[in-house]
Amino acid sequence: MLYREAGQFKSSYGEDQQIFPIRQDRIAIALLLVVAFVVVPLVGNQYWLSALITPFLIFALAALGLNILTGYAGQLSLGTAAFMAVGAFMAYNFVLRMPWLGVIPSFVLAGLCAALVGVVFGLPSLRIKGFYLAVATLACQFFVLWVIQRWGWITNNSASGVITAQTITLFGYPLTSPAAKYLFTLSVVVVLALAAKNLMRSETGRAFMAVRDMDVAASVIGIPMMKTKLLAFAISSFYCGVAGALYAYTYLGTVEPEAFTLDLSFRVLFMIIIGGVGPILGSFLGAAFITLFPILLNLATSGVSHALGIEVPHAMVSNLELIVFGSLIIFFLIVEPSGLARLWQITKEKLRLWPFPH
């Protein structure tokens, strides 16, 4: 009853092709945007905004980037963190060396640099696939970090290799408060997410999916393999690069190369697996789960130890968290291999009939 598209007739091509064809979806998205842009900054306190919601959005963007590559174009990559690092450090350099450029062009240029690196390390995908490709992208992960650590120009010759993100100004308004940073991040993420959603309905997106489903068949029906695969790497790395720039500027503040290790790549990969490989909603759900879960787990363990009145040593807690986290990933994969987005699909189908049984 609540979610039924019966009676919503399309009378023009424009209506038929809009991004959200169902009225309820449009209302839900509009409500969500209002809540995100107006209610959250008013209600949320500093801690929530800067330590939870902003990183969630940034990770959602990175997961979206990986999802374009892995979920839509079918190329498994373990180099996400490296692309994020390129974005973060290049954004730093553009802001530092070309201050007249403005924030948004700097971030876009940083994203383009990441895209360039992505294309270079995407080249092996023309010859290899599957796990061979996944391991090959590890080369990118290690090589990029090494370059950042060795080449002093990138970190502006900082002795420790740590950079401090400058205060960025948007239209003459400095982004210093958590709410301002949050709103900036949110705007970028919303724009890029809508762009991704739209891209996947275009010819390019359909070419990606054809390559994912079977690349030989795709090339037989005339999809240019090289262009499609490299474009997938470029777009994905662009998203990751922008996410990295946001990570540095709106979340971390001070950035060291060690922030972008393989662990980060795995975290982003977990997000799209748990959220669901493919649907764009999945990236957001997965990012929310992975960002919030350790915090919830932490609260839970401290709550339990308080209730039992015993002092649990810190090392034990972190090891327990590792175990629970690992088990949970296995559990999720077994119970719902298509991820949280699939659960949402099922819910929608149920809502279509509710409250009637048929």
Binding site: R127, R150, G326
Partner: protein, 299 residues
């Protein structure tokens, strides 16, 4: 170029390569038989070494500890098959891969929870010192321990080869590796086979853990060994035991040579990525590695 020095570096690299092969071997065994890319192999190495060392430190005889650890690893393999792999049969490979990353976390947490996270020293009775007569005769310093490790690795490969070629279980393993469905059709119990493979991989992890632990100390860094073994797999091919050995030798030798002759030119620290970039270049020529199965696509 000093030829003796070159030879010394080369031998050191080759012997280090054998150690890489040991870790890669565990990957190959599991990938061959079940198509699972087992990222947890590094964690298994760490878990095995830590269990052994902790048992010895608690006063257990080292042979008894060895047997106990082996039993623990076999139980671990069987449990993994039962809890993680069996419910995930027929899932895409990436799902299984992710599950093994989950398993990595569980193993890392579990081993440190049970045994503590402080690093340990491990003595296997072979000191890590240069062999005297080689040094005297040709002025080449080659560690006694490296030779020992290479011999152990060689013996292990020989035993595995015999096991695969001559025993009934070994033949069943090869049948499963060739074709899961055909193997099932002739009545080979797939799940037993997987449990056995994981148990064997656990045993290989134990050997690798002991040797690496004796060399570098038993510490958390052992889990990163998995990352060292991956380029070896790329070069050797994911399905080939000889490939793992040869790949290890190539990676070990070229890595050491590059570190000595090429590293100083670019500021050092290249060992983190050199093997990967080399494997990448290698793949451009041979996409399935040296001995990997050639992949034929049909539409």
């Amino acid at each position: 170029m000093d030829i003796v020095f070159f030879f010394e570096v080369l031998t050191g690299g080759l012997l280090a390569g054998v150690m890489y092969s040991l870790v890669a071997l565990g990957f190959v065994l599991i990938y061959k038989a079940s198509g699972v890319f087992n990222f947890a192999q590094g964690a298994m190495v760490f878990f095995a070494a830590l269990t052994f060392v902790s048992l010895v430190e608690r006063g257990m005889n080292s042979w008894v500890a060895l047997v106990v650890t082996l039993v623990v690893m076999i139980v671990l393999g069987v449990v993994t098959e039962r809890v993680v792999l069996r419910p995930l049969v027929n899932q895409p490979q990436i799902t299984l891969f992710m599950a093994t990353i989950g398993l990595t976390f569980v193993l890392e947490g579990l081993s440190q929870l049970v045994w503590g996270s402080q690093p340990h020293n491990l003595e296997v009775g072979i000191p890590d010192v240069p062999i005297v007569w080689l040094t005297e005769k040709w002025n080449v310093s080659i560690s006694q321990f490296d030779i020992f490790a290479a011999l152990v690795a060689g013996a292990l490969v020989a035993v595995l080869a015999l096991f695969f070629q001559k025993t009934r279980i070994g033949r069943a393993l090869r049948a499963v590796a060739d074709d899961h469905q055909a193997a099932l059709a002739v009545g080979i119990p797939l799940q037993h086979i997987w449990a056995i493979v994981w148990a064997v991989a656990g045993g290989v992890a134990l050997v690798a853990g002991l040797l690496w632990g004796a060399r570098n100390g038993v510490q958390f860094a052992l889990t990163f060994l998995a990352l060292k073994a991956l380029p070896v797999l790329l070069i050797g091919g994911f399905e080939s035991i000889p490939g793992a050995i040869l790949g290890g030798l190539i990676i070990g030798a070229s890595e050491k040579l590059a570190e000595v002759y090429f590293g100083p030119m670019v500021g050092g620290g290249i060992e983190s990525w050199f093997a990967y970039v080399m494997a990448l270049l290698f793949l451009l020529v041979r996409p399935e590695g040296l001995f990997g199965e050639k992949h034929i696509d049909r539409v």
